[in-house]
């Protein structure tokens, strides 16, 4: 995470990849406790990944990372359950069983489809980066924007997506 915050793309990707099984497991145990189908765990894991990304400057680099991640997940899980009308009591994730190593990793909703209702500039940036797999520099030249503008659009787009995710679930 520290390297990720410093802009090391590879380290950041590895961190998010390594965190994902942990997020799935916690999400699944939270869902099971609330009596929800555990298939929704992938939706929550994706929500949490986006939240980790957009809120990463709220983590203090000298503090342990795991409590922060757990708190983000708990927040998203409670939010998810509340929106689905479940008043499950989620206090601790004391005992969790390791997730199976192989996961399909496909959520029940499509973030890219949701992005269709974003303003056109943000939609273009999200599409260029998420679907076409461009980095900020390539996106900037493809859309004839400055890199700064791409970054701003991406952040607004991600924030908008996070809002829509909260609305859609």
């Amino acid at each position: 995470m520290r390297a990720g915050l410093a802009g090391d793309e590879g380290a950041y990707r590895r961190l998010l990849r390594e965190l994902t099984p942990f997020l799935r497991t916690l999400a699944r145990s939270g869902l099971a406790r609330a009596g929800r189908p555990t298939a929704e765990a992938e939706d929550i894991a994706q929500d949490v990944l986006i939240a980790i990304h957009t809120r990463r400057s709220s983590w203090i680099a000298s503090e342990p990372l795991v409590p922060w991640i757990r708190a983000i997940l708990k927040h998203k899980l409670i939010d998810f359950l509340r929106r689905r009308g479940t008043t499950g009591h989620i206090d601790t994730f004391a005992e969790v069983i390791a997730a199976p190593a192989e996961e399909p990793g496909i959520a029940t909703r499509d973030v890219v489809k949701l992005a269709e209702s974003l303003p056109s500039g943000q939609k273009a940036v999200i599409r260029a980066m998420f679907v076409d797999g461009h980095n900020t520099q390539e996106t900037a030249s493809a859309l004839q924007m400055s890199e700064g503008a791409v970054r701003v659009s991406l952040h607004r787009g991600l924030a908008g997506l996070a809002k829509m995710l909260r609305g859609s679930i």
Partner: protein, 210 residues
Amino acid sequence: MKTDDLITALSRDAKRTGPSVQGRIAMAVALGIASAFALMMASLGMRPDVTAATRNMLFDLKIVLVATLAVAAVALVRAVARPEAALPKVVLLVPALILLFGIGHEVATQLPAALPGRLVGDKWAVCLVAIPLLGALPLAAILTAMSAAAPRDATLAGALSGLAAGAIAATFYGLHCTDDSPLFVATWYSLAIGMLAAAGAGIGRRVLAW
């Protein structure tokens, strides 16, 4: 969408954008202090007898009370910005005890008949208008800093931002205000700071949710 694709896309945006939330809060507080002080000096000015007033125990008590409330509120804002942190509510004890001492002192040293007049004071209406006005900019600055934070409770985060902004504004308003009775402070300052906290809660509920 595959989670792995999402991760790849997010990691392309790995480069950090701007300072940490804690850094942003510190800057917002500094900006809030500077703006509240400048606005107070430009519009109301120090009370004319400010040098003599510093030898008045009730004036000192008033300033120390609102200043410690500001420090406590900023500590709470810094904690509420972090999803994993517990709120250090105990910091509020310091201003609370100062206020209790002040009220006790007032009741013990003043004639009972004088207490209602001291509570109402001279310029309660100015206090109720000036503190929210002086605190508006600090509140905006703190809420802006909090927009990248991850508070568990957006309403609470907004309310605490308002409390911090209100206490900062009250500290500088206190240098102008000639009502020094702890009864006055407990009533009107609290009400004015409460208005900012309520505004912060209402705004926070809408803009700080994530």
